[in-house]
């Protein structure tokens, strides 16, 4: 697997889109830090952009990458390497390079503008870690979609719909449910619902980290109470790990059953 990972990473590093991606975050983060001296304000703006954008880039880039490397994958499958090694190797090549360009795009300006010595550094690290987790989750989704559908147009369509669902529609549905059942106690339901969306979960974690849940009234208090406790943070970590492991094993299973 490591050899395949190496080739895949080498191939990705030669991909100019990855540099545009890194460049975008470099410019964005630097611009925000130049425009405002308040590191927390910058963090909130950055959070809003990153939480929407990293899943989108992860899933679209992943789909494009898979369809482009299909030939390479087919070539590898005729060699004495098992399918798990082939698909894991290629996938990790993608995930690691996406995460690296994201982390360096956001991280380098932070070092240059002196965030390292400020008290909010931990918050920034949480943001970067969460955006890496989202990149991993959504690029896994992209591999699942493209292994399942050989038709590129279909694959792209489904990838965009999935992103739309998690980034926008899910919150709407969440709200409608809360409105419809407002006569009932909804604490537990809202906790469960927020765990079923990785983007939402990342957002909740940032909110807790920034300690601004008081601004959200009663539900904010519920969230803070539950997720802010040690049991809550253990649960969030567990759920995030599940969001990575379940799609990963599903992807491997799909790849083992596929005809090439």
């Amino acid at each position: 697997m490591f050899k395949i990972f190496k080739y895949s990473l080498y191939d990705m590093i030669r991909n100019r889109w990855l540099f545009y991606y890194m460049g975008f975050f470099l410019i964005l983060t630097s611009a925000l830090l130049i425009l405002s001296n308040d590191f927390t304000q910058v963090l909130i703006t950055l959070t809003n952009i990153i939480l929407a954008l990293t899943p989108l880039i992860g899933i679209i880039f992943g789909v494009i990458y898979y369809y482009n490397t299909k030939e390479f994958i087919e070539l590898l499958l005729t060699q004495p390497v098992d399918r798990k090694a082939v698909f894991s190797g290629v996938y990790f090549g993608l995930a690691v390079s996406l995460s690296l360009s994201l982390a360096s795009g956001v991280g380098i300006p932070l070092i240059l503008f002196g965030v390292l010595n400020s008290s909010v550094l931990v918050n920034y690290i949480v943001l970067i870690v969460l955006s890496i987790v989202l990149s991993i989750v959504f690029s896994l989704f992209s591999f699942i979609i493209s292994i399942k559908f050989d038709n590129k147009v279909k694959g792209f369509g489904i990838a965009i719909c999935l992103w739309l669902f998690f980034a926008l529609l899910y919150d709407g549905i969440f709200l409608i449910i809360l409105m419809l059942f407002k006569a009932y106690p909804l604490d537990n339901l809202s906790i469960v619902l927020s765990m079923l969306n990785p983007i939402g979960l990342a957002r909740v974690l940032i909110i807790i980290q920034l300690d601004i849940s008081a601004m959200m009234g009663y539900s904010g208090a519920v969230i803070k109470n539950f997720f802010g406790s040690s049991l809550g943070s253990m649960l969030i970590t567990l759920v995030l790990v599940l969001w990575i492991t379940i799609p990963y094993y599903y992807m491997i299973r799909l790849s083992k059953a596929k005809d090439f």
Partner: protein, 236 residues
């Protein structure tokens, strides 16, 4: 020796391999022939593990190989359509496959045989169809493997390359290799092959020597024999 037992494979409603039983003996050249869509490529791909059969068994020298991968370092495989990562050049590809296989390879002899030196450092995406096929053959034949599987090896080759390939394959057989190939070029079969397997609708219609097939169909040309069989099957 390769043994297929009770092999079944469907793609949707299309039953491509139908309870197929087959034995291919070692140290021989076997051609799998049949009309388009008769299941030749599916049969070969299931031997390699690229296509996963719905049921049945495949054994290589008595060992079940379904779901395994290590056995592939015994096999050299030439895919029907040469598809490589486009932004690598031939040399990089050769090195990569060598590295993955981790076994000794002799690319130079084949590079000379196919007159490929000039194309070696061009990006694969810019190679012509025939040159891609030469590279495909190079990657497949550069290792010393006991079993060689060639899916349409003559695709897009010029006459000189084709003659060279035939000679090369004959020599491989003399060295004790087992070669299985599919082709639509009759002269290729007539010159090279010891054994013919004729696939029709996912079943084996004929398995035996060329001479017997010609005798059976009462003709002296393979082309006519095959056309006869196809016409008979259509009239049924």
């Amino acid at each position: 020796m390769i043994e297929f037992t009770n092999l079944n494979k469907s793609f949707g409603k299309n039953h491509v391999l139908n309870n197929l039983d087959l034995e291919i003996r070692g140290n021989s050249i076997t051609a799998v022939i049949g009309p388009n869509g008769s299941g030749k490529t599916t049969l070969i791909k299931s031997l390699l593990g690229l296509v996963i059969p719905d049921s049945g068994e495949i054994k290589l020298d008595g060992i079940n190989i379904l779901g395994k991968s290590k056995f592939r370092n015994q096999i050299a495989y030439l895919p029907q359509i040469a598809r490589f990562p486009e932004n690598l050049n031939g040399m990089e590809l050769i090195d990569m496959i060598k590295n993955l296989r981790n076994s000794p390879a002799n690319a130079n002899e084949l590079i000379q045989l196919f007159d490929f030196e000039k194309e070696l450092y061009k990006k694969v995406g810019t190679l012509s169809g025939g040159n891609k096929q030469k590279l495909n053959l190079l990657l497949c034949l550069m290792f010393d493997n006991p079993l060689i599987i060639l899916d349409e090896p003559s695709n897009g080759l010029d006459p000189i390359a084709l003659i060279n390939l035939k000679t090369y394959l004959k020599n491989l057989k003399l060295k004790g290799k087992t070669i299985v190939l599919t082709t639509h070029i009759m002269s290729f079969i007539e010159e090279l092959v010891d054994n013919i397997i004729f696939l029709l609708n996912g079943k084996i219609y004929y398995n035996g020597s060329l001479e017997k097939l010609l005798q059976m169909e009462n003709t002296n040309r393979l082309e006519l024999a095959i056309a006869n069989i196809l016409l008979k099957s259509q009239n049924k």
